[in-house]
Symmetry: C2
Subunit: 251 residues, 2 copies
């Protein structure tokens, strides 16, 4: 936990009182004392410091602090994800890892090779996935909560919803091992938003690839090595980030 | 398992007989029949196809195949890792993920912020970590097993061992959040080998940074977001790979 996150509604007259795992973290991990400053942020809001006014170091822990939140939230991430619903245990890790890397919206969609049982997983409940998103923000020192959109049907998402948001993006990238362009040949600007679509274990089927292409997606590959979805998502995010940073020098 | 891996010693007159989890995989997942071809490779050797000559589809499973291994092993990965020993559960995942991405040698070293108990973990036994390396190769369709080198003392590794191998590398990169250069300003060639050193949770201490710098390591950062070690290793590997692929166009 590299930043303590709170909801705006928890703040009262510039003061924040914690009595849950965050209080325990301040006591046990940060070992803070009265007068110390700790990094605090409001979810979807400003970041800054909290000066500790009172602290109870034995169970039940509590910490009261005065907030001074002068730092703007981080910039809106440039990347949104479309993810064929992964196995629940993998989804948990992906949610916190991509939140740490920075992501705007994550669309979880159906695909031919998504196992039906994955749609019954508890992680699709808001109160469950929220925890993993918070872990990612707390890790990366960010306050901007990604939006999770769940689409249990492929076709309505691709045909009805996606066309209404497609124009928000400069690049529509489909991770697909065959017939693709290299990412380095596609990323040609430091600006504009990107949607990256990553398939299930076993990949997209031809029909799905066709539907993405009809919406203007470009097949991209990161080489011959076949990666698990959790590795691929991070590797693609990182590669796209690196390429955007050097593109000024390329052009 | 995108390739079935075998030791050279398992092959007899061009034939391979499997009776373990690999036989079960051929029967249950690949659902192969006599005459079908499956992807096979020899550890640290060639890759190719195995034609199924005989198959027993009920427990105990067995599969006999004739091998035709005409494909050279993949190229030697350009990247070696120096990793402050991570928490065992994280190390398992890192080993298979970086093996899937491609890595030559992984040096596991001590650092000030490595918990002492991590050095007692079973994953440091060859028979335990070998399994996770194989998972990575089986995932990525590779046969080249990374070398694992374990160095429980920081100073002898940095002062005595590393200088003897330093000249093998074109770039020595130290992942460190502060005072670093951007990776894009450092990676200036598609050729040559790279060593990347990634610290423990909480980072390298000043003494360690100084020791790396004395050996010619260059501090590199991937931005302000603080990442967990498992996310950081993959993201750094991917960023370096992407930058090497575009560097021809930059120069």
């Amino acid at each position: 936990m590299n930043i303590i996150l709170a909801e705006t509604g928890e703040v009262d007259a510039g003061r924040l009182t914690l009595t849950d795992h965050r209080a325990k973290h301040v006591v046990k991990v940060l070992r803070a004392e009265i007068g110390d400053c700790v990094r605090v942020g409001l979810i979807d809001g400003e970041m800054g410091l909290g000066t500790i006014l009172a602290i109870k170091k034995k169970y039940p822990f509590s910490v009261e602090m005065e907030l001074d939140l002068r730092d703007s939230p981080r910039a809106q991430p440039f990347l949104d994800l479309i993810l064929a619903l992964p196995r629940p245990i993998m989804l948990r890790r992906i949610l916190s890892q991509v939140t740490a890397l920075g992501v705007g919206t994550i669309h979880l969609i159906n695909a031919n090779r998504v196992e039906k049982s994955f749609w019954e997983a508890g992680i699709l409940e808001q109160e469950e996935y929220h925890v993993h998103l918070l872990h990612g923000l707390e890790q990366a020192v960010d306050t901007r909560l990604p939006s999770i959109q769940i689409h249990p049907e492929f076709k309505p998402f691709m045909e009805d919803l996606f066309p209404t948001i497609a124009e928000n993006y400069q690049h529509l990238l489909l991770a697909h091992p065959t017939g693709g362009q290299r990412l380095g040949d596609v990323i040609d600007s430091r600006n504009g938003r990107i949607t990256l679509a990553v398939g299930p274990e076993g990949g997209w089927v031809d029909y799905e690839v066709k539907k993405f292409q009809e919406q203007g997606f470009c097949n991209c590959s990161i080489g011959e090595r076949i990666l698990k979805v959790d590795t691929a998502v991070i590797a693609l995010h990182a590669r796209i980030s690196a390429l955007r940073e050097v593109v000024r020098e390329v052009k």
